[in-house]
Symmetry: C2
Subunit: 122 residues, 2 copies
DNA sequence: CAGAGCGTGTAGTACACACTACACACCATG
DNA sequence: CATGGTGTGTAGTGTGTACTACACGCTCTG
């Protein structure tokens, strides 16, 4: 399993290389830290898994700065997005039930449900 | 909104009265605390909302001791069950998507989906 | 070879979390 | 009137969370 730090560093280095090739946009540790609003040394430690992942807000800021999906990054950070938690807390039994039903199903089955729901014949 | 503490106390007092009427089983603060594995004074403070809700494990133990649904009690405690979090973290985008789709739907619509899923033609 | 820019090391902070231990005051009962 | 059981008050503890501030050493460029 890739750790949060490993993933973050790899992601940044990929962006860095791509930005070199292209033109603008810098993906140095310092500039990413600045864009995401945290101290460079802090980010350095996070990327090397010396510090645990930061708060949800900072993870979101990092996702934004690196062009990555926030939910994915949050998951790697061992967290779940606050708005999802809120939704579950509002109707705990309902959501507990449905999540437990779906958790052992293969992706394609769940995806099919998602699509059915979105197409909205409910 | 009923607080966690208020709810807990009310629940315990209800059980207490019922147990009086019936026969066995004690629902004093001390005995519930003992059954759930925490200090009486701690539970006392929790029931009066002087202390914040305890850890997930303790909330579960309280639910067990009081015959209440753990997910409901956890929700009142502002928490979400760890197994649900784990399921979401394993497939963050998938579950984020489906929860966000469902969160604004009325109960009956969600329930219908739950049933369809359980009846398993997926 | 000075200076900019890069990543990193060390130190420390403020606060919340999750509790325990023990003493106390009250009430009813034998 | 002492004893058992009830809820509560006070105090303190260890651990994690979530960071900041600042200094250091390396490398590349002008």
């Amino acid at each position: 399993m890739t750790s949060f730090g490993q993933y973050l560093r790899q992601l940044r280095e990929t962006r860095h290389a791509a930005a070199q090739a292209a033109d603008v946009g810098r993906y140095t540790l310092r500039s990413v830290a600045a864009n995401a609003g945290l101290e460079p040394s802090y980010l350095s430690k996070i990327e090397r898994d010396i510090q645990p992942p930061p708060s949800e807000a900072k993870v979101r800021a990092l996702a934004e700065a690196l062009g990555e999906d926030a939910d994915v990054l949050l998951a790697l950070a061992g967290k779940v997005s606050g708005d999802l938690l809120e939704a579950i807390r509002k109707r705990p039994q309902l959501f507990a039930h449905i999540i437990r039903e779906l958790k052992d199903m293969p992706d394609h089955a769940v995806l099919r449900i998602v699509r059915e729901v979105r197409d909205g014949q409910w």
